[in-house]
């Protein structure tokens, strides 16, 4: 048993309140989405799935969902190999410039996203990439890269490069030794990085607000507009689904990372 002093009791109480503050908004979303009322009225009225029906039958929401999933998928497919290659080179090379490269790859985390968004908008306006699918994917690849790089670099830190040297001294070429020796050992970090890039693309809103349009608007852009203009309760259902999806993905990513450690 720990010493129970008044300070200790205060510490428990404050921490409990802070945890409630952190968790309550996340927990409240699901009950709201199953309520028949426009908002969770207290006491709650009847149970209903009408907002889910509205989401799944509305062509605009469905189109936005397709756009989001397509963008997120392409983002992962492009960002993961680029990020892995970069992280590998950063960890292996003794070139001085690699430190600068490393910092550059983390820029998307440092530059306020609103600035990135407006900047990309200006550049895209010049080259005709506004409101296009490739434009949207490319922007999300850029934003997702740091997650892949950080995750893979962390994985490579616990990997002994001598193993790859051994494989090469036994006659494998560089590429084969990477795929046969290195990749299997950092696989979980690679997968985790990819998943984080997917979530980042799924959640990205601000860049999409500026550069997406027409039929290529992701879910987040439509949600933002709907929240700003007049709160559409369908958003409760979408929020619940999105939250469930990202929790599942995070669970997948972290269990993979843990297996690596343990």
């Amino acid at each position: 048993m720990m010493r129970i002093s008044p300070a200790r009791i205060a510490l428990y109480a404050i921490s409990a309140l802070v945890l409630v503050y952190l968790i309550l908004p996340v927990l409240i979303i699901a009950p709201i989405s199953f309520s028949s009322a426009r908002f969770l009225t207290f006491p709650p009225p009847s149970f209903s799935t009408r907002w889910y029906q509205q989401y799944f039958t509305n062509p605009a929401w469905m189109q936005a969902t397709r756009v989001t999933l397509t963008v997120a998928l392409f983002t992962v497919v492009i960002a993961t190999p680029c990020g892995v290659a970069a992280a590998y080179a950063i960890s292996q090379s003794k070139l001085r410039i690699m430190r600068v490269v490393h910092m550059a790859l983390l820029l998307p985390l440092v530059v306020p996203i609103i600035i990135t968004a407006v900047g990309i908008f200006f550049v895209y306006a010049k080259v005709g990439l506004v409101a296009t699918m490739p434009g949207l994917v490319l922007a999300n690849v850029m934003l997702g890269l740091p997650y892949v790089v950080i995750s893979v670099l962390a994985g490579l830190q616990s990997f002994d490069p001598a193993q790859e040297m051994v494989a090469r001294s036994l006659g494998m070429n560089r590429l084969r030794s990477f795929f046969a020796v290195t990749l299997p050992q950092i696989k979980s970090s690679v997968v985790a990085g990819g998943i984080f890039a997917f979530i980042s693309a799924m959640d990205e809103t601000i860049v999409a607000l500026f550069i997406s349009g027409g039929q290529y608007q992701p879910l987040t852009k439509r949600m933002f507009t709907a929240l700003r203009d007049e709160i559409d309760p369908t958003i409760g259902a979408i929020s619940t689904l999105m939250t469930a999806a990202s929790f599942l993905l995070v669970l997948l990513a972290t269990t993979r990372q843990k297996r690596k450690v343990g």
């Binding site: 010493r3 300070a7 510490l11 404050i14 921490s15 802070v18 945890l19 952190l22 968790i23 908004p25 996340v26 409240i28 709201i32 908002f39 969770l40 009225t41 207290f42 190999p81 680029c82 970069a86 590998y88 080179a89 090379s93 070139l95 690699m98 490269v101 550059a104 820029l107 998307p108 985390l109 440092v110 530059v111 306020p112 609103i114 600035i115 407006v118 900047g119 990309i120 200006f122 550049v123 490319l138 922007a139 850029m142 890269l145 790089v149 950080i150 962390a154 560089r174 959640d203 809103t205 987040t220 949600m223 933002f224 929240l227 700003r228 709160i231 409760g236 929020s239 999105m242 929790f247």
Partner: protein, 287 residues
């Protein structure tokens, strides 16, 4: 041509390969963040000739000035509140058995993985006039008129702290974990009360974590857009909203760019100053 040394040649090939491996990612970064930000900077000083007019407006016109001041005020408030809420939580997580600290930290990062939009929606549902909290309070006759909890600075701060709190707790916890427990025991064995050892030993040793957490929260808050836009009710105009309005509503690209550049410079200046005290890796939460 000199006689090429085979090992030198090998090394050159090795360097070339490494640069080739890094180039796709670097190209994406150069094209989609370095070029756009450079473009903004250029646009802020060039319009049919070199001009500082945009910066003059940013620094002298009232709306810009007020917006920058408000943004700094809100960011400061959010940082302080996050520190006050986050420090005890990190402290508790650090002082309980492993299983409990894992539970606490999981609860801290749980909302972190919920979309910012989803959380804005949740806060609207909680804080609106007809929202959960107002209805709850009226049901139990605590209040007779609904409170104005949202569409003002209050709602913005409540939701922003909620989003940024994990960025405070995690570096704090990481720093606290590295403080050796023996030091507290040494303090106690020398006759110091628990509160004295806390203030004289633990708190000073945790300051790097405080600095890292505060920097991250403050800097992220400076550039916040979605939360103030949705929960601020149009009256809480933060700098990021100034940028977007100048682009979307008024087509004032030069002004938007100047505001963006000033915001970016503020952020970089903060990172630069902080990097003199602690490593930036710590702030960005990599290690």
């Amino acid at each position: 041509m000199t006689v090429s040394d085979p090992s030198q040649k090998h090394q050159r090939r090795e360097h070339g390969l490494m640069l080739a491996l890094v180039s796709p990612a670097l190209l994406v970064i150069l094209l989609l963040i370095v070029l756009p930000v450079g473009w903004l900077a250029w646009q802020s000083i060039y319009h049919d000739g070199f001009t500082l007019e945009n910066y003059r407006r940013v620094f002298t016109e009232d709306i810009y000035w007020r917006s920058f001041a408000l943004t700094f005020e809100i960011s400061l408030a959010v940082t302080l509140i996050a520190l006050l809420l986050g420090y005890p939580l990190a402290y508790l997580a650090n002082s309980v058995p492993k299983a409990w600290s894992i539970l606490i930290l999981s609860l801290v990062v749980l909302p972190f993985w919920t979309s910012v939009l989803v959380r804005a929606y949740a806060w609207l549902a909680l804080l609106q006039r007809s929202g959960v909290i107002n209805q709850f309070l009226r049901y139990f006759d605590v209040i007779s008129e609904p409170l104005a909890l949202v569409h003002n600075s209050f709602g913005t701060v409540v939701a922003t702290v909620h989003i940024l709190l994990p960025f405070m707790v995690l570096p704090l916890y990481a720093t606290m974990q590295k403080i050796p427990g023996d030091l507290m025991q040494a303090g106690a064995s020398l006759g110091a009360s628990p509160s004295l050892t806390f203030f004289r030993v633990f708190l000073p040793l945790s300051l790097p974590g405080v600095l890292a957490g505060c920097t991250m929260v403050f800097v992220l808050c400076l550039g916040f857009y979605i939360t103030p836009e949705l929960l601020g009710g149009g009256r809480t105009v933060m700098v990021s909203m100034l940028v977007s309005r100048n682009v979307e509503l008024y087509n004032q690209f030069g002004a938007a760019s100047a505001v963006a550049v000033v915001l970016l410079m503020s952020v970089l200046a903060i990172f630069f100053v902080v990097s003199r005290f602690i490593s930036l890796d710590r702030v960005l939460g990599q290690k």
